[in-house]
């Protein structure tokens, strides 16, 4: 696992300061979505090999949610962004 994460607010920090929530690429289904769709969103997880984006919470630092773009195979970290900025970027991309 990538052991050093460069938080956009705090600088380079060890992974022990963070809690990992998981895949950041999924979108929440609408409340009216089918049970199968909700089942998939809540319980079914991929185990990606390679580059993927994840939610990381900087629990012991600035307490902000971050989106970490990293490779699970090479441990390379490509980008770390604040989750709020990431959501904004995604909303603008969808427009």
């Amino acid at each position: 696992m990538a052991s050093l994460i460069t938080c956009p607010h705090c600088g380079t920090r060890p992974k022990e300061e963070f809690a990992i929530k998981g895949d950041a690429s999924r979108t929440r289904p609408s409340p009216a979505a089918s049970a199968e769709e909700w089942q998939k969103f809540v319980y079914i997880r991929d185990n990606p090999k390679g580059r993927n984006i994840e939610y990381w919470h900087h629990v012991l630092g600035c307490r902000r949610w971050l989106v970490v773009d990293r490779d699970t195979l090479t441990h390379e970290v490509f980008a770390v962004t604040d989750a709020a900025e990431h959501a904004l970027g995604r909303a603008e991309g969808a427009r």
Partner: protein, 182 residues
Amino acid sequence: MNGPFSLRHPLDGAVSAYPAVNANHVTIYPEPQAISVCALQGEEAAVAATLDALAGDGLRRVGPGEWLLVKHRADSALLSDIKAKTGASALVTDQSNGRVILTIEGPDCRAILAKIVPVDLHPDAYPVGHSGNVFFAHVSAGLARIGTDRFEISLMRSFALFAFEELMEMGLEFDLTAGFAT
């Protein structure tokens, strides 16, 4: 266990009443002041400017739009001043009884902290005036560099004794001493 909670300092009994003061020394402030300020969205820059003018060198950064104002000796007018000047643009909470403020100073203080804090404390990476929350002996603590060989640590009250004991143990080889500020 009588009397108000705030009258009993969490580190009471952990240090001698008449401590030795070596070159490497931890000073505990018995009645500090810590005020948490969270700016509302869009008000961050204005609140930062107000706090800069009010708190000066006691301003500690926590995260974006969030600060902890630290005074080693309580200033009774500060809380109402901040509330009046930030108005509706920020949430202001008094954390004085919830925080333990101490400073560590001496020629080896960086070497001692390096055993507890997994963050680069070289003056180029963590210059004087820099602050933030760090992983400190497995708990979160505010760490601010207030001098070349002087750091300020703000601990949550309930973790304070544990983290303080860890700090003193790491300082054993450097003859670290500790005492309350007089």
